[in-house]
Symmetry: C2
Subunit: 116 residues, 2 copies
DNA sequence: ACTATAGTTAGCTTTATGGCTAACCATTCA
DNA sequence: TGAATGGTTAGCCATAAAGCTAACTATAGT
């Protein structure tokens, strides 16, 4: 479940649509294909990509393959994003503190100038 | 700032590393390039891709181009993920409620069977 | 003015992506 | 058993991605 592959899988609108569909519950390949004006083999490729990214798993019983969402993979992405957010927010905080410090200095300088 | 392009941009480890670096503050192309064993033009391509995805902006002053992170683009991805999460969690809630219902029925059936 | 620095452009490979058709299993249903 | 259904495999095409080198432009420093 590599971040590369998960992001890659989500970079295609068709695949995101499939993911969105699967958020609502399992579905067969045929069901997944319906909304798309696309040949089945093409759609199958997308499903394969989703599977190899770990976002989707599927199982075949009889002649129908049922796909389901693997939410942990999506969670992985959320975790990564959250980590980045934390870093840049910490930086913004430091920046803000620095600006505050500058403001105070400016004030005290102003006082000094006045008192001269 | 298309979701396609943002996800696509993040699907490459080099570009994610650049994003991570930029979380810590602005950087020039040269600074960004240092950690990578990669020819400059190749790295520039990555920067271009990050720019066209909206994740990064850059400005050239003198001969140095300074890049900075555009956190809104990352936020867009977070929003999308959160939306999916909400959908599937709602479904899980419904499922849980359904299971609870089944359990209760089972209990009442058990009572009936006993009382017979 | 000369050199070094910082990017940029152009053009080339190799490999991956996204789509197609046509032909092929493998189950189910009549 | 024969036909319909649901996927699957194989192979083709066009375009884009990720890397390279070599040559070029434009500023900064001496």
């Amino acid at each position: 479940m590599q971040l590369d592959h998960v992001f890659g899988a989500l970079s295609d609108a068709t695949r995101r649509a499939i993911v969105m569909r699967l958020c609502d519950g399992e579905a067969s390949v045929g069901e997944l294909a319906k909304p798309f004006d696309m040949a089945l083999p093409s759609l199958m490729k997308h499903i394969r990509i989703l599977e190899s990214s770990g976002l989707v798993t599927s199982e075949k019983t009889g002649r129908v393959r049922t796909c389901s969402l693997q939410t942990e993979a999506l969670a992985t992405v959320e975790v990564w994003l959250a980590a980045q957010r934390e870093i840049w927010e910490q930086r913004l905080d430091r920046l803000e503190m620095y600006v505050e410090k500058l403001k105070k200095q400016e004030k005290s300088n102003a006082r000094k100038r006045k008192s001269k």
